[in-house]
């Protein structure tokens, strides 16, 4: 195995779960840009799922992979039906049925209706009324610092870019063995059956090289996503992760040290039996949030709560200013180039 040099810089992202609308603009921006070729129909390099929910693929965090006590954890790679086929719709059946009311039905490749798909349990959420709740979780490849995918490949089919830590699959070297997909605990690697290779989010590196933010970041109407190099101490990821400590890795227990971080959802207080707010109880169970984001989530939420109250009482909060990002260019760190104003020939060169 080749020992690759550690990256000199690490690209990092922060997603603010308090701002996501669940509109899937990021998902569609990615889909139309990268995964429309044959064999990629069922790929969603960017996906937004409702939590609590089973995610994409079904039971997304229950397929193994990652590390425990420093050792690789065996994983599996669920079949496509567990992610969601690129199904079609039975328009002909509806128009030809003669029935007055026959909704258009989705059809999988087998001809049967699909039983799972991206964000399949949309907005179902959890809890019991009036303490029901849900939030959205955005996932892309986290370009982990201890990438289980890269280390699982027996033929160095993945590599980590020295200049920004982005992990890419070398499509010439990849032989489609799929150990990487098994080893990724976040299940962010797909298989292209037409080309018999693994494929995944590439962090829009060709855009980054032209100074343009990733499509999912730039197309987000909720201004959820912050991107910068982690070594930029003025950048949002550094400030949110290391200075304010309000952005946390997803499932840190997986041990892969992801470089996508999440500002956890701060829900309103729970209602008590009398139907009044109980300021001591979170509507989203804290045990659930600790499972997702680790034990630091309590302190992170307390910080966000405190800074919100500062603003609510007429004060100024540096943290809230960063999270709000009134100028959307502030979200994109050094990647503020408008792609429509880019000299594409020059960029290619």
């Amino acid at each position: 195995m080749v020992t690759a040099p550690l990256p000199t810089r690490q690209l990092a992202m922060v997603f603010d779960l308090n701002k996501c609308l669940g509109c899937q603009s990021c998902t569609i921006a990615c889909k139309t840009l990268w995964t429309e070729a044959p064999g990629m129909e069922a790929m969603w390099w960017n996906i937004v799922n409702t939590l609590p929910g089973q995610g994409t693929p079904r039971d997304v965090f229950a397929h193994g992979g990652g590390y425990r006590d420093g050792l690789p954890v065996p994983g599996d790679f669920p079949p496509v039906r567990e992610w969601g086929e690129a199904w079609d719709f039975d328009y002909a059946g509806t128009f030809a049925s003669g029935e007055e009311r026959r909704p258009v039905q989705p059809l999988g490749k087998s001809g049967e209706p699909p039983s799972w798909g991206p964000n399949w349990d949309e907005d179902l959420g959890g809890g019991v009324y009036p303490n029901s709740y849900f939030f959205y979780l955005q996932q892309v490849c986290a370009n982990c610092s201890k990438p289980a995918c890269l280390e699982a490949c027996p033929r160095d089919g993945l590599y980590r870019r020295e200049e920004d830590g982005i992990i890419l699959i070398d499509e010439e070297r990849c032989h489609g063995y799929r150990f990487c997909a098994e080893a990724c605990p976040y299940k962010r690697i797909y298989f292209n059956p037409a080309r018999v290779i693994a494929q995944k989010c590439i962090a829009c590196y060709p855009r980054l090289e032209a100074g343009v933010a990733p499509a999912c970041v730039r197309q987000c109407p909720g201004r959820v996503r912050h991107v910068d190099y982690m070594d930029n101490r003025e950048g949002h990821p550094y400030r949110l992760v290391h200075e304010w400590k309000v952005a946390l890795p997803l499932r840190p227990d997986f041990g892969t040290e992801p470089n996508v971080f999440y500002v956890p959802p701060l829900a309103p207080p729970a209602f008590n039996a009398a139907g009044e707010f109980d300021d001591t109880a979170s509507r989203i169970p804290m045990d659930y949030l600790r499972e997702l984001f680790g034990p630091s989530v309590d302190d992170a939420l307390a910080t966000i709560q405190r800074e919100r109250e500062v603003v609510a009482s007429g004060g100024q909060s540096d943290l809230m200013d960063v999270l709000i990002s009134r100028d959307w260019n502030d979200l994109m760190g050094p990647f503020t180039q408008n792609p429509s104003e880019l000299d594409r020939q020059q960029a290619r060169a």
Partner: protein, 219 residues
Amino acid sequence: MTAAQALQVRAARLAAAQSSQLGPSGAAWNLLRERDIPLEPTPLDRQPSAYVQTAWREKTYGTLAVAGLTAAVAGPSLFLRLRWLAPEPRPAITDNDIFADAAALLFPLNGVDAPLETMGDERHPVQAWHWRAGAGKPFVLNATGLGTATRFAHHPVEVADEWANGQWSVVFSGPLHESGVALTAAGSIPVGVAIWCGARGERAGLKSHTPAWITLALP
């Protein structure tokens, strides 16, 4: 010299016109002697991935104990037929967790010697002719160690396959003097065999193989 090294498969000389009878179940094979080639699982501790070593510690692979190998030269081409039992064939990759059956022949590129257990090394490259069910055409790869196999975009090797009665029959063929391997050196060449059982999830280094070279004698 191990018992496996002592194994010799002698290629019969056939008339060029008989090449049409050298398909997977072609009549010409019936006249030739098929040798049983003993196979063993590849050692798990040699897999170049800690993940693979860990994930497969409790799994069974490489259980195919024998394959049949027959060789013939017809006209300018060498034909090598592999046959093995495959009661649960995997004729194509149809899903994320489906792996196709596969087989490969390995040759030292210099026609004389190379470390088989590591798929060659930097001074002794090897060449594999690799068939994967459903792929349509074979792959030809050169390697200088585990995990280094690199495919050629163009090569002269052809393959024909057939699954019938619980058995795969796969015929590799290549021109003797253009395949990149020194196939005519000293009238014989070491050859290795590897077979992957898709139903068991075998892929990459997880396979049944000949632990030592066997000898292919050319007419």
